[in-house]
Amino acid sequence: MKSNNAFEADPDIQLMLDFANGDDSAFNQIMGKYKGIVIGITRRYFNDRSRAEDIAQEVFLRIYLSKNKYKPKSKLSTWIFRITANLCLNDIRSRKREEGNLDLINDNTSSTDRELDIIDKLEKEELNETVRSALLSLPERQRLAVILSKYDGLSYQEISKILNCSISAVDSILQRAKQTLKKQLNKYFKE
């Protein structure tokens, strides 16, 4: 079965259609191509590594279960980003309802094997921890928008499709996020 709409040029869509037609190796190809990107989002979104991996795995489970009803309406990457974003947002919301508050800052930065001066190393660790905390302190949609823009290099238009909002809304979300980050991180700015 061939796609005959505007996204015909996207080879990843053809992979998904092949998978929908019963070719499980196409699903493996999709997973191989996108697992890094998906875990990149979830790992930066969640402080807890195991939760980040769980959510990332859930993304591919959802893709697998969608095969019988898949209809290409956007680039495959946009669709996968959207699934990832929805799972991240829904997970945070359901945990907030269960726990009442959210302890986001409970992870220790993993040690590195680099040979650094101990003070320099501690400063770097403090910086990493502070930057991670600043990102995690952002409201969910701002955090997601920052991750998609900064680490995935997506345009405002692509982010608007993923977050299901207007381009001007994305601009507004990122403006607020950057103002918050600036306030939290300004002591690290070198003069």
Partner: protein, 159 residues
């Protein structure tokens, strides 16, 4: 801060993300050359954005793909169990209704089959009986040829 500064600072985020049209970018750059306040704001936004580079994505677990397939397998197993469970866990009322339906259906079908077979058998028996009657009548052969008995016999053969 004048209105030009306010307008510029509202667009700084999109400008830094290269999401503005060229003419808008030129306007902003021109203002930044002239306004130290907005220039400083732009610098601070840029630096805090660059600091996010310190957050690295950690490497993927090597078992990631096999764990995904495991999740898929478990999901399929649960789906099958759920279907079987629905069949086996019928409520007593539903089970009674199904049994009653089975009895009625069986009775109807059985009746149809037996009735039709009986009709068929009856037709066959009638045919045999008629032949027997003719045989017995034919056996009554001590009548004279032109007697009433013979006339009657010939009439029944034609019937």
């Amino acid at each position: 801060m004048d209105s030009k500064c306010l307008t510029t600072q509202k667009k700084l985020s999109a400008y830094l993300d290269r999401q503005l049209a060229e003419d808008k970018c030129r306007e902003i750059e021109q203002h930044l050359r002239q306004c130290p306040l907005c220039f400083k704001e732009k610098e601070m936004l840029e630096r805090s954005w660059e600091l996010l580079d310190n957050i690295k994505s950690e490497s993927l677990s090597p078992a990631f793909e096999s764990e995904v397939w495991q999740k898929i397998y478990v999901h399929e197993q649960e789906k099958n169990k759920s279907f079987l469970g629905k069949i086996l866990n019928l409520t007593p009322a539903t089970a009674a209704a199904m049994i009653l339906l089975g009895i009625i259906s069986g009775g109807y079908l059985g009746n149809e089959l037996i009735y039709k077979k009986a009709i068929l058998n009856n037709e066959t028996n009638n045919s045999v009986a008629q032949q027997d009657t003719l045989f017995y009548l034919e056996s009554f052969d001590d009548l004279p040829v032109d007697s009433v008995g013979v006339v009657l016999l010939n009439g029944s053969k034609k019937g």
